[in-house]
């Protein structure tokens, strides 16, 4: 009897170091499920970010390259240009992508680099302990915004909507925003990731899937409460769905490639 559902082959069967209620574990699993479905485990390279998910190379059972903080899209550019037939994934958090690495993501996207960025947006710096991120919401508290993010008096700026910002660039082909707050959104996020990976393997331009993800530890709340907070505060500002989709209508080709990869 064929196994209908199990632990993804590309994800090592070990417990992660992530905090209870953190979204990274679910997102890792979605990536690995898609890689398994596309049969790309031995043809994938993940770029590990600096942040909590620096641990990713402990969990993903495929090759990895670890660049400096924020430089992930530049290093991924080098990897993908040398390995055009591989699946190259940039796994980036909001500090990595939207603060220190803003130049790198904008220009990699604009060049239409043919890798996929998985952008985990939890509106806070995780690993360093709850500092204000570029995606921290107005009024949201952080250790470096102790009275809440104040864009006017304190000059802390406004939360950046990364997909919308990148949508203006000619090189971007597929930009979607999912969330891991409930089963429905997790399934949708997986579909976005699959579309992005398939587009990459067809050699279309830059693709990015932003994933809204809870960080109960640094939001200083329980895991269940953090899901509610995400739904009430993040989802209204960071609209879910496909923000830009200019992919060629290539479903038959994608299906063909998937089947070929499985062989």
């Amino acid at each position: 009897m064929e196994l209908a559902y199990g632990h993804p082959k590309s994800l090592k069967p070990i417990q992660t170091k992530y905090c209870p209620g953190c979204g990274h574990g679910v997102i890792h699993r979605l990536i690995c499920e898609v890689i398994d479905e596309l049969g790309l485990q031995e043809r994938s390279v993940i770029m590990n970010p600096v942040g909590c998910s620096i641990w990713a190379d402990l969990y993903f059972d495929f090759d990895s390259v670890q660049p400096p903080h924020g430089r992930t899209p530049a290093a991924a550019t080098g990897v993908k240009r040398m390995l055009p037939d591989h699946l190259v994934i940039c796994y980036q958090g909001d500090g990595d992508l939207a603060a220190i690495g803003t130049a790198e993501i904008v220009h990699a996207a604009n060049r239409g680099e043919k890798f996929t960025t998985i952008f985990v947006n939890n509106a806070i710096y995780g690993m360093t302990g709850g500092q204000m991120a570029p995606t921290t919401l107005v009024g949201q508290k952080a250790t470096t915004a102790p009275y809440g993010r104040d864009p006017i008096e304190a000059g802390m700026g406004y939360p950046i909507q990364v997909c919308e910002m990148l949508a203006t660039l000619g090189g971007t082909k597929y930009l979607a925003r999912g969330s891991v707050n409930n089963a429905v959104n997790i399934r949708k996020t997986k579909q976005y990731i699959k579309k992005a990976f398939e587009a990459q393997m067809r050699g279309e331009g830059f693709s990015l899937v932003e994933v809204l993800s809870p960080c109960p530890t640094n939001w200083q709340m329980g895991a269940a409460e953090s899901v509610g907070w995400l739904e009430e505060n993040m989802v209204p500002f960071y609209k879910l769905g496909e923000i830009k989709n200019t992919l060629e209508a290539a479903t038959p080709a994608a299906t063909h490639q998937t089947q070929e990869a499985k062989r």
Binding site: A75, A76, G78, R81, M82
Partner: protein
Amino acid sequence: MAEEKRLMKGNEAIGEAAVRAGCRAYFGYPITPQNELTAFMAKNMIDTKRTFIQAESEVAAINMVYGAAATGARAMTSSSSPGISLKQEGISYACGADVPCVIVNVARSGPGLGGISPGQGDYFQSTRGGGHGDYFHIVLAPKSVQEAADLTYEAFDLSDKWRMPVMILADGLIGQMMEGVVLPPPRDIAALPRKPWAAGHQADTHRPINHVTSINLVPLELEASVRKRYERYGEIRKSEVRFEEVNVEKADLIFVAYGTSSRVCLGALEMAKKAGVQLGLFRPISLWPFPEKRIAELAAKGKRFLAVEMSMGQMVEDVRLAANGKADIQFYGRCGGVIPSEEEVLAEAYRLLGRKLDK
């Protein structure tokens, strides 16, 4: 049959040598005085169906190199002093992850934005591990267009052999001037040695997964990996030292100079020779590893040294360390982009020798 001699600019000869060495990817950002190199690579890498990207910054360029080289490809970037400062983060990561690559610094004068004229003020930054953490990498300093081509070509092999970045430390004069050059033969990229540690192509061999990384949060493990790298540095110090000597046995006073300033010293040496005065030249070609053993030998023979640099005195510290108090080490330098004249260098040598300069 040996290839005929071509008249080339230093920057272009470096580019041609890199292409011939099997460089598959070049990433650069415009900065004077190395712009001809980036333009040369744009044309030649595209023509040979290799990768060229004009990056959004020097920071991005070195990280593109890091990514490309992490897959085992020969990769290179070039810049000039302020841009090299920006690359130091990436160089530290490449050293920490043992990723080979070639970095060319066509140096200018600083600090800060400084000027665009040639300088040798980047010696400390190049030879001391210019970024954070405990590390070194090979640094080679050409004196001519021919040597710039030869050392660039060799840099790719050394980089692969020792799994570390190799820097070519030229300067604006070497980059900008034209000289005759005989180019090395093109390498067959497919025949270059495989790199089993690199990311990608796992499907070919079904090997265990590879991580190209510099992180290790366990202090004892990180210490062990740094110590292992330092053992490699010890091997490099034994086997990769390069220098050139002129008339050091007969000389009473030996110039120590590299790159452009060594050419000036050679001119002063020739002038002295005509006047019947024996001067010598010791020219380090590898700035790291520095030829400290040979300098110590000459110091033990009672030789006097005059270090000449286009800086306020950086390499001279390595000469002093090598001599370890056993010789008189003097220094003469110009900075700000000024190239010292043969006459002024000779005058300084004569002053030290207590001779008058013949007018």
